[in-house]
């Protein structure tokens, strides 16, 4: 075997090994860092398999479930599959201050983990507004936002 051929083979083998190792590490890392999108019903259906993994839980804030602790630092509320009375729901505890739009009945996505205690600990709270930007529908009045801000009560900064 010529030296150049041998060198080339060594180089190819080295690249293959490095590539394989990279692929192995990458896939392993992806597996560890997956975030699952589940609704409360789906998550509860997973049973113990839902414990510990990072989850994005999407649902509706159940009416009458929002509670602040006295210092106004810890928020808890229930996220339900839907607005109906029988919908599956999960108790969520969040240390993050919710955004202006947060209120009862609004769609939210909370990111965090679920464990044996049955409480979903959230470190990220996103209000799932209708982000789709669209022209107004017939009969829809502009400046509807006025109502959304003042009509319904915004719990976030109600009283410190």
């Amino acid at each position: 075997m010529k030296t150049s051929t041998r060198n080339r083979l060594i180089a190819i083998a080295a690249v293959l090994v490095a590539g394989g190792a990279l692929g192995f590490i990458a896939f392993g890392n992806i597996g560890k860092n997956l975030v699952y999108y589940w609704s409360p019903g789906e998550m509860l259906g997973k049973g113990e398999r839902a414990y510990g993994t990072t989850i994005r839980l999407g649902g509706v804030v159940q009416r009458g479930s929002i509670q602040w602790d006295p210092q106004h630092t810890r928020l808890s509320f229930k996220v339900a599959d839907g607005a109906g009375p029988g919908a599956a729901s999960v108790l969520v505890s969040s240390t993050e201050v919710p955004p202006q739009m947060f209120r009862e009945g609004i769609g939210v996505v909370v990111e965090g983990t679920y464990d044996r205690s049955g409480v979903f600990t959230s470190h990220r709270l996103m209000v799932n507004h209708s982000n789709e930007y669209r022209p107004p529908k017939p009969g829809e009045k502009p400046r509807d936002w006025d109502k959304t801000v003042t009509d319904s009560e915004s719990t976030a900064a109600r009283k410190p």
């Binding site: 690249v15 860092n33 201050v97 915004s154």
Partner: protein
């Protein structure tokens, strides 16, 4: 009227592109340059029609002609004029139309810059680029037609997406990215022509290099501006989130950067021809993939404003591209024979080779993480996303290794390095790196990765400055020149080298700023009543009141915070919440107090309806402004590197003036 005219212009562009592509590739493959004049005319026609279509659209937007589908979709009488023009690229159809005119401009500029040169390659190169033009013109004429007629004509439209009219950066960031993205079509055409001809000459490589550097510069600026926009507008307190769309712009940047480096090895050693061309082809495919990810709505992202049906067309195009590129490489690749070899592991070429493998490795892992959710959803029907930790875990070590190579590479000579000399030259930079690390530890900084980054940054800066200044020092000593004259002259003598190192300094700046701002960030949030204060990192912020304002297209509410620094200086910060007329949710404008040492970043999260209290998110990001501060340095360096020098023009004119690369091995440390 506007609809008909605009659509006709698009069809005209499509016709020009088809004719030019067929003639160019047809005659080019037959090894004739008889078709070249016609291909050139097709390029001019393509550009003209695309420009016309865009002007008609801008006119329709400015005159609020709501009978045009796109205007009815994004226009509004209440939008300020500047954002009305900007709305050309604020939604899918318009942005692809804008894409078309940029492509036309690039093609025209390329055709004009290569007047009588390279007639062997030109029909193929222009033909390939026009084939890309066919795809985009087809897209504009068919699935993403902005010129559709609306009936009955609405009285007013919704205006562009509120997020996009909230900051002036939106005016510059997308065009920069498009200039970067679309510009990669030119190197793609050049590389495809080289493969089709089965040869890659010296002068054609120079052309390829210059025409990659131009879009690379735009892409770099576009990415940095994009992170700045995310920081200044989105208000989530960050600038990079490994969002699929951010990745989409980052991936071609990685491969293009790898190309810029590997082409130097190709130039000096006449090896890595196929590899270098593969990087160019890969870069182009990644830009198309990126456009697909941005525009088809397959990802849930800040950027995917519209769901659309251009997805299948794009997927088909990506498929065609992959088949074409792989078969080109497979069938024509063996014609590009390496004429040299890499001899020593202790050499610049080895450092660049490792750099290339690193860049491709990072590209692979980022691509994997980006596409993984798509694949799992398609195959298993499970909705997942790949968390930021994955990207950070994979990219941070890669980035640190790249930083290390940025120091080692320029220090090693081409050819074969002598271990003794290398050791000697390592001495001072290593000492500086060690001193930096000790200083960081002494000041109480903790964390392996950031401190390693700071140390390596000192190492790279020391080496880069030495490489930049050494030729000037030689001139001062030998020619008795004044320092400034010596520096300018030495820079002019080797523009590419000088410019490249200036860019390196800018990149080091970004590295340091990212490490500092992500590792040593301080964050707090809280709700306060009027007259009460929040504290963060030595700042005291007292809520003093609210402020309301109205503009034609939006209303806003700001919370006035009286900020006091540790030194007792007082300033007013007013983070705002904007309510756009037809957007259902408010959009924040963070208040940022920037200093070179770091930014105080305040967002208004919520307020009580009686204006008695408000909730804020507060961050301190050390050194974050240095990321955008690097833009002038990057641009300056890139401009030096790509400015055509007299020598480069002479080399283009006579291909025989190429020097023997081995003879240059000894002198290139100083001058080349």
């Amino acid at each position: 009227m506007n609809s008909t005219l605009g659509y006709s212009a698009v069809l005209g562009a499509l016709a020009c592109a088809i004719v030019g592509a067929v003639i160019g590739i047809g005659t080019g493959v037959a090894r004739s340059d008889a078709g070249l004049p016609w291909v050139r005319r097709a390029v001019v026609g393509f550009f003209g029609f695309m420009l016309l279509a865009n002007l008609i659209m801008v006119y329709a937007l400015l005159t609020h002609d709501f009978s045009v589908h796109y205007v009815a979709h994004v226009g509004s009488r209440a939008t300020p004029t500047v954002y009305t023009v900007v709305s050309l690229w604020s939604a899918l159809e318009g942005s692809i139309l804008f894409w078309g005119v940029i492509l036309g401009t690039y093609l025209l500029a390329f055709a004009l810059s290569q007047k009588d040169e390279h007639t062997r390659y030109m029909p193929l190169a222009l033909g390939t680029m026009l084939a890309v033009g066919v795809f985009f013109a087809f897209l504009i004429a068919g699935p993403a037609n902005p010129f559709g007629k609306v009936s009955p004509v609405p009285a007013d439209g919704p205006g562009p997406n509120a997020l996009l009219q909230n900051h002036i950066l939106m005016v510059v960031h997308p065009p920069m990215l498009y200039l970067g993205y679309v510009g990669m079509t030119v190197p793609f055409g050049i590389a495809a022509a080289a493969l089709l001809r089965g040869e890659l000459g010296e002068a054609w490589t120079t052309t390829l290099r210059r025409w990659t550097l131009i879009p690379w510069t735009f892409l770099s600026v576009g990415i940095v501006l994009g992170s700045w926009w995310a920081y200044a507008v989105l208000g989530w307190g960050g600038y990079w989130a490994w969002d699929p769309v951010e990745n989409a712009s980052f991936l071609p940047w990685l491969t293009a950067t790898a190309f810029i480096h590997s082409t130097m090895v190709h130039e000096r050693r006449k090896v890595l021809k196929l590899w270098t061309l593969s990087l160019v082809l890969g870069t182009f495919i990644l830009t198309i993939l990126g456009t697909f990810m941005t525009r088809s709505g397959v990802f849930n992202s800040v950027h995917s404003f519209t769901q659309s049906d251009i997805g299948p067309t794009f997927l088909a195009f990506i498929g065609v591209l992959l088949v074409v590129c792989i078969s080109l490489l497979a069938t024509r690749g063996q014609l590009l024979v390496p004429e040299g070899a890499i001899r020593s592991p202790l050499s610049r070429e080895t450092a660049i080779l490792v750099n290339n493998l690193l860049f491709v490795g990072i590209t692979f892992t980022v691509l994997l993480g980006t596409l993984f959710p798509l694949v799992t959803e398609a195959v298993r029907g499970v909705r997942v996303s790949v968390g930021e930790p994955y990207f950070n875990k994979m990219a941070v070590p890669g980035g640190v290794a790249v930083l290390f190579l940025m120091g080692v590479g320029p220090m090693l000579p081409w050819g074969t390095g002598s271990p003794r000399v290398v050791r000697q030259q390592l001495l001072i930079p290593t000492a500086l790196a060690a001193a930096t690390i000790v200083l960081c530890l002494a000041f109480g900084l903790r964390g392996a990765m950031p401190i390693l980054t700071f140390g390596l940054a000192a190492f790279v800066v020391a080496i880069t400055l030495r490489e930049l200044l050494l030729p000037a020092k030689v001139r001062i000593l030998e020619h008795k020149e004044r320092p400034w004259t010596a520096l300018v002259r030495s820079a002019l003598k080797s523009r590419r080298r000088f410019g490249g190192y200036v860019v390196h300094l800018g990149i080091v700046m970004i590295f340091v700023a990212i490490a500092a701002s992500s590792s040593f960030v301080t964050h707090t949030s809280g709700t306060v009543g009027i007259g009460k204060s929040l504290q963060i990192g030595g700042y005291n912020l007292k809520l003093v009141g609210f402020q309301n304002g109205a503009e034609p297209h939006r209303r806003w509410k700001a919370a006035n915070l009286e900020m006091t620094t540790q030194g007792g200086r007082t300033e007013l910060l007013a983070p705002r919440m904007n309510f756009f007329e037809r957007s259902t949710d408010p959009i924040g404008t963070p208040a940022v107090r920037s200093t070179p040492a770091g930014d105080l970043y305040v967002t208004l999260l919520a307020f009580s309806d009686d204006e008695r209290s408000a909730t804020f998110n507060l961050w301190i990001f050390p050194m974050v402004g240095w990321i955008w501060g690097s833009i002038p340095i990057l641009v300056f360096g890139a401009l030096i590197a790509m400015w055509p020098g007299r020598r480069a023009r002479a080399a283009l004119a006579s291909p025989l003036s190429v020097q023997d690369p081995t003879a240059m091995g000894k002198v290139n440390r100083g001058a080349a």
